[in-house]
């Protein structure tokens, strides 16, 4: 019986369903070549902002952004997120100092190119780095590694002296792959911020805070939660909204019994 009704549900003609329900809707197609709408413009103008004005962001705008995060889709509607908002400069400086300290330690341990070539230190650090690279190929990509060096050498900041930092905590028990849900939730947050005239930047190095029992206790990061990402928020310096060029990516397009490769 149950099986039969499922089959019937699957076979129902969508147009018939609408007609029976007295809820017929028409399809509206945005014409080819139409100008970008507001959401599209927001997406195109969003850049990762790493230099902020000193002015604090009003609290209601942060609440407004988090509200958009709350309505993000998640696997099985499990909503595996929790937010921590930090708006005190000394606390932000505290988490900055901790992450910089971690980068310094890491840099000493793996950045063989900062030691004189041919030295014993170069040799031993290089061997360690190569092994670590193999074990953690995502984290040890040359881009984040050069970021770690820059932070360790004081050429770059972790939280960019932003007036507000949002930590995205992830419930590790989330359905499927909760890290994806955190990404989707954060995307809602940063796009909302962009539409409100705010700049944001994703801070992956914030994950280092998970290694500090003191900071976890102070921030309220407890099992089964962990810091998955952070987002810095503030008013951008300058006007970084000129539409940029970027590489295209391969698209496999299957239609009419053929496969096409588009870019």
């Amino acid at each position: 019986m149950a099986q039969a009704s499922v089959a019937a549900l699957r076979n129902e003609d969508p147009e018939e369903v609408e007609k029976e329900a007295g809820r017929s809707s028409t399809i509206t197609v945005v014409p080819e070549g139409a100008a970008w709408n507001g959401v599209e413009q927001t997406m195109l103008k969003r850049r990762s902002i790493r230099k902020y004005k000193k002015a604090q962001v009003p609290g209601h705008l942060i609440r407004r952004m988090l509200e958009m995060g709350r309505f993000a889709p998640s696997q099985g509607n499990c909503q595996p997120w929790k937010f921590v908002v930090i708006r005190d400069a000394d606390m932000i400086q505290g988490i900055e100092d901790f992450c910089v300290g971690t980068c310094k330690k890491l840099s000493r341990g793996i950045d063989y190119y900062t030691y004189p070539a041919g030295s014993f230190k170069y040799f031993i650090t290089r061997a360690k780095a190569k092994l670590f690279n193999r074990l953690q190929p995502n984290m040890m990509h040359p881009v984040p590694v050069s970021g770690i060096t820059a932070i360790a050498e004081g050429r770059f900041a972790v939280f960019h002296k932003a007036p507000t930092v949002i930590l995205l905590l992830m419930d590790k028990r989330g359905i499927g792959v909760p890290a994806i849900d955190i990404g989707i939730c954060g995307t809602n947050i940063v796009l909302a911020a962009q539409s409100l005239g705010l700049g944001t930047c994703w801070i992956g190095f914030s994950k280092f805070l998970n290694q500090s029992p003191e900071w976890c206790a102070r921030l309220g990061v407890e099992e089964p939660y962990e810091i998955a990402e952070a987002i810095t928020v503030g008013y951008p310096v300058g006007d970084p909204t000129h539409l940029i060029a970027r590489e295209t990516h391969e698209i496999g397009w299957f239609e009419g019994g053929k496969k096409e490769i588009l870019y």
């Binding site: 080819e32 070549g33 139409a34 100008a35 970008w36 195109l44 850049r47 990762s48 902002i49 790493r50 230099k51 950045d111 063989y112 190119y113 070539a117 780095a129 190569k130 690279n133 193999r134 190929p137 040890m140 990509h141 040359p142 881009v143 590694v145 050069s146 970021g147 820059a150 050429r155 770059f156 310096v237 300058g238 006007d239 970084p240 909204t241 000129h242 539409l243 940029i244 060029a245 970027r246 590489e247 295209t248 990516h249 391969e250 870019y263």
Partner: protein
């Protein structure tokens, strides 16, 4: 079938070899650059700096700069349209970039 050969998958590039870690660079039109400094402070890789006389400073890529990720944030903030990245970074072996086409501004379909 795989896009990376077995050899490539096993090869992790040497971070200190520019031949294996090809970070990219930006082109700066010094005629257009008005030395406003904004690009140097927003560059995530911190590879830009100002040079020249006080009155007519210009931006340039630092010598031995490492880490340009072609994010084009410098282009996004440049009021005079003087600076642009037009090629993505690439690495050899395990990190070789795959399935990428030309740089292009947002397209309307």
């Amino acid at each position: 079938m795989a896009l990376l050969s077995k050899q490539e998958r096993r090869h992790f590039p040497d971070w200190d070899d520019p031949g294996q870690c090809q970070f990219h660079s930006v082109t700066i039109d010094l005629e257009k650059c008005d030395g406003c400094k904004l690009c140097t402070i927003i560059c995530p890789a911190n590879v830009l700096e100002l040079f020249g006389d006080k009155a007519k400073k210009k931006a340039r890529v630092k010598a031995n700069a490492r880490g340009c990720i072609s994010c084009n944030n410098c282009f996004a903030i440049c009021e005079s349209g003087a600076i642009e990245a037009s090629q993505h970074y690439d690495f050899v072996g395990y990190y070789r970039q795959l399935g990428r086409g030309e740089f292009s501004k947002p397209r309307v379909f």
